[in-house]
Amino acid sequence: MELFIQQLTNGLAVGGIYALIALGYTMVYGVLKLINFAHGDLFTIGAYLGLTLLTTLGLTNYLGPFGVVIVLALMVMGLVAIVGAALERVAYRPLRTSHRLSAVVSALGASIFFQNAVMLIYGARYKVYPHDILPRTAIHVFGLDIPLIRLLILLTSIVMMIGLYLFIQRTKIGTAIRAAAIDQGAAKLMGINVDRVIMIVFLIGPALGGAAGLMVGLYYGQINFTMGWLYGLKAFTAAILGGIGNIPGAMVGGLLLGVIEAMGAAYISIAWKDAIAFCVLILILIVRPTGLLGERVAEKI
């Protein structure tokens, strides 16, 4: 039972990270029908920027541990959002009217570019996060010791997801995003500036991805320039699992994938961890071809 709870909380924390990255995929997909393969690398950039800001600014001298993390997160999110918006402007906007696959190649090219840029700037070796940022304490619940950071990550990601959900559902800009996702042409006719909506999506998605990068750095303590591929792939899997283009779907898919992986690693085999996740995905897609929460959209004729 103890193993189960430990793995469940671990899976939920990792799942929360997956969900945050998956939101970036799913929002971009919803509006542009584009798989942003460079999104995983924006996540890496977030992790590295977090490390740089942490070591150069010396925030720990002025603020307590939680203050440091909050300020850091806000700065990382802002910077990665700018990178994301620049990416959209340079690599995706010129391709908006062309075939979908052309934009996919552009995205893959951008991904290679970012990955190698990070490698050239920071070097190819693993970088280590200072481990004294957050107190390494454990919280005592039901007779179990659960690391504080695990709960914090889960909590933060859930707060961010709820915030995003409310933003999309309740605000004017959110409504515009939903309208542009349903029908860009009609949205334009209703006076929505679709270019601006896309820009906003490319600010929010990468910001969440950057925050996830910072969380991975704080949680695991080490980062590498290639990690964006694996996390990006997992998050994309999560987005598909929940039904791509669907925001609650990405959240559910991310948490579910994290838990499946943790359970698979604990109870079946750690070596087969990734294979189990993909097998579950394939089985779910065979039964529900548009993901768990994806609508059964008929193809446009």
């Binding site: 997909y29 798989i35 391709l95 052309s102 190649v105 090219g109 290679i112 990955q115 193809e299």
Partner: protein
């Protein structure tokens, strides 16, 4: 216009044919890799370019072919080239079994499933499934191919084997895309529903395209195993599938000359810019973005199909 194209193709073919005489072993080996990727990308082109299925897991079938050859050759010592069709069959059958339940998935869902496939196969190989794949070390001691009593060993000998195979592939795939089958694939790529309405069994055609592509990738796996004599799971990771995917899209979906040019660019450019060492992939990534912005349909998109009225009438008349 057409004659000009043919002159360019013939000149290119002749230069390529003679290239082992003036290139050193290193560059011949680079050309061998280009050749292998050309054949692989041409087989992916049937699936991705002609049928329009988002398939990003082609390395899975390539791996199956290579491992089939390696396992049978090292345990039963059956000559490599005899295993060429066997490797193709194993990969083709695997594709048939795997693709049957997923072929109806829409674009991006199919994409992630094929990515999952390649990862599952790689992990299975690393974990030494059934105790026959040799784990992460792979399989070594695969014998060299013997063609009509000639043992193929040196890079230039492989060059003619690989590019000979490539020539056969180009000829056959050219016939295929000009056939009724090729036209049906293009139709269902452009409009699934209209194709179905015109009496094309789309699921069936998609499945056949998938199996043909996988069969061919399996055969390339056979030659790859013979060339390397040692294979390991890392040769067949997700990144290889991405490279193939990029070759087809960068060169031009559904265009044989485009795919060949794409393989030369994607594999050749990083070799040529080796002096920039670490920055070369950075430049390559930027190049891909720029290329797609200025040539969205790929570098050499396929020429439109033409049916000159005189030819059509002539054929009708003779019937």
């Amino acid at each position: 216009m057409k004659n000009k194209r043919i002159v360019i193709y013939v000149a290119f073919g002749v230069i390529l044919l003679l290239s082992p005489s003036f290139l050193n072993a290193y560059w011949v080996d680079v050309l061998n890799n280009v050749g292998l990727y050309t054949i692989l990308a041409l087989s992916l082109n049937i699936i991705l370019g002609h049928a329009g299925l988002f398939h990003m897991g082609h390395a899975a079938f390539y791996a199956l072919g290579a491992y089939t050859t390696a396992i049978i050759n090292t345990t039963y010592h059956i000559p490599i080239l005899w295993l060429l069709p066997v490797s193709g069959l194993v990969a083709g059958l695997a594709a048939l079994v795997v693709a049957r339940p997923i072929i109806h998935l829409r674009g991006d869902y199919l994409l992630i499933v094929t990515i999952g496939l390649v990862e599952i196969i790689r992990i299975a190989l690393v974990n030494n499934v059934f105790g026959i794949t040799g784990g992460s070390n792979g399989i070594f001691g695969i014998s060299r191919p013997v063609l009509l009593g000639w043992k193929i060993n040196k890079p230039w000998e492989f060059f003619y084997l690989i590019w000979g195979f490539a020539a056969v592939t180009i000829f056959l795939f050219d016939r295929l895309e000009k056939s009724r089958f090729g036209r049906a694939l293009n139709y269902l790529r452009e409009d699934d529903v209209a194709a179905e309405g015109s009496g094309i069994n789309t699921a069936h055609y998609k499945l056949i395209a998938f199996v043909i592509g996988a069969f061919w990738a399996g055969m390339v796996g056979n030659i790859f195993a013979a060339k390397m004599t040692i294979i390991a799971p890392e040769s067949f990771n997700f990144w290889e599938s991405v490279v193939l995917f990029m070759i087809v899209l960068l060169g031009g979906r559904g265009s044989i000359p485009g795919v060949i040019l794409g393989s030369f660019l994607v594999l050749g450019l990083p070799e040529i810019f080796r002096q920039f060492a670490t920055a070369r992939m950075l430049i390559f990534g930027a190049f891909m973005v720029v290329m797609m912005i200025f040539r969205t349909e790929g570098i050499l998109p396929p020429l439109p199909r033409k049916y000159p009225i005189a030819k059509v009438l002539g054929r009708e008349g003779s019937v």
